[in-house]
Structure formats: structure tokens, C-alpha cells
Symmetry: C2
Subunit: 137 residues, 2 copies
């Protein structure tokens, strides 16, 4: 292993751990996105060890706040999440985990937890003419 | 207004409010996704009033945990988020907000906060042959 490689074999590499901004319970939010369709499937939470397992095993592991235990997605349901990439956000309190989701991400059997909850009524916003003509994306 | 319409004019409609599962600070996580490219841009937090404003004004409003104030995205930066849709998840503790993001979502000037933080080293996972051949998505 070269000096530049991270070592997550027994604990989360300190260079990653020091970048995390955890909530009072030691958790960061993890947004789970299907890697090819880019559908947002669910949001879970990870502590340092859940993140370490997610980075090193090819499978997503959360910390279950309700059950207070590690939860490797799919172990009971078969609805495995295979890890494709993990990115940390600018201030270290959120993760974006791109996965290949087998079957349903939601415990209700829906593909996405947001399909289960469903849309709320919104007033849709639109760019101004100036913004449309600008060079911004 | 018919009986079926939600009324968010002065406060968040009780039928929506009762579905929210807030953290101890009264907040739910809001995943912000560009509506057409489906890029995940950032994660923010909303209380009931921030959600009400987001649903009714065409613009995304967060509750800033660091500044303890409402934060209508783009008011100082110009990097406005126009609301296209808002969905609640199955257990009411996360929102998916599809937006049209003008310019950069990240305060650093990057399009996405996850581009700014960047990728972590991962072991990539793969479906089993059985899962590849199955009828699951």
C-alpha cells in the first residue's frame, strides 16, 4: 500500500473520519441513488462503522436509528444495494451513495421510498427570461 | 377550494404536517435534485414553515441550522432553486425536492455539493448471476 491509499480495513481511515460532520447521535445522512437511472431511492443514516462497511464490502450498510443496530440492506428482504460510488458533500454531513438496487428500495415494496410517500401539492417555479438567456446551467 | 385541496396559505396543511416525522430540532432532510438531469445537488433541512414556503412560492426555502434562520436559496448568491416537485418519503422524515437550479448549488461555486466533497475510495459491488437473470429491476 502506498502512502496515498486509504486504509479502511479495521476502522474508517482517519483522513475520511476527520471530514465527517456528524449529528449529535454520530450520524450522517446518506442519499441512495440508482447509479444508471439516477432515481433517488431513499435516505438512510450511517455512523463511521456503517460507512466503513459500505466502502469496503460492495454492499450498503446503514445504522438503524429505530432498531439501534447495523442494517445491511437486503439481508432479510433480498433487496440488496450494490455500491457503485460514494461521495461526501462539501461540509461533511451528507453522503451520496450510487448503487445498483435489486428490487425495491422501500420496505413497502415500492421501488423508491418517495414513490410510496408520494408528491405534495406545489406551486411550480420558473426561470426569469434573463435566467433563461444566461450562461448558467 | 374543494374539500380535497390542501391549504398551505398561512400554515402547513395539517394533513401534511401530521405526516412529518421530525428530528428533535423539528427538521426533516430535503434532498435537492435537478429535475431534468436528475443530478443530486445538495441536502438541506426544512421545518414546517420552510416546507410551506417551498410548496407555495416556487422557490426552495431551507432552515439554516448554522444560522438559525430561514434561508431562501439564491437570495444572496443568485443561485435560485425553482421548485418542480416535492415528494415525501414512506416514513415522513425525508423530502425529495426536484428543482431547476440556476448556477451552482454549492456555496463553493461547484454545481453540486457532492462534486465539491468528492468521491471516497470504494470496493464496487456486483449482482450475482441469479440477480442479473431475475425479474427484479
Amino acid at each position: 500500500m502506498t502512502d496515498n491509499e486509504y486504509d479502511n480495513t479495521t476502522e474508517l481511515d482517519p483522513r475520511i473520519a476527520q471530514r465527517l460532520k456528524r449529528d449529535p447521535k454520530g450520524l450522517v445522512a446518506a442519499v441512495i441513488q440508482q447509479y444508471d437511472t439516477r432515481e433517488v431511492l431513499m435516505v438512510g443514516y450511517m455512523n463511521d462503522e456503517a460507512l466503513r462497511r459500505t466502502l469496503t464490502t460492495g454492499r450498503v450498510t446503514f445504522w438503524s436509528r429505530s432498531r439501534q443496530e447495523y442494517w445491511r440492506k437486503g439481508d432479510t428482504s433480498g433487496h440488496v444495494q450494490y455500491v457503485k460510488s460514494v461521495s461526501l458533500d462539501c461540509d461533511g454531513d451528507a453522503l451520496l451513495v450510487e448503487v445498483d438496487q435489486v428490487g425495491a428500495a422501500c420496505h413497502t415494496g415500492r421501488r423508491s421510498c418517495f414513490l410510496e410517500g408520494g408528491p405534495l401539492p406545489v406551486v411550480v417555479g420558473h426561470r426569469t427570461q434573463e435566467q433563461k438567456e444566461g450562461t448558467d446551467e
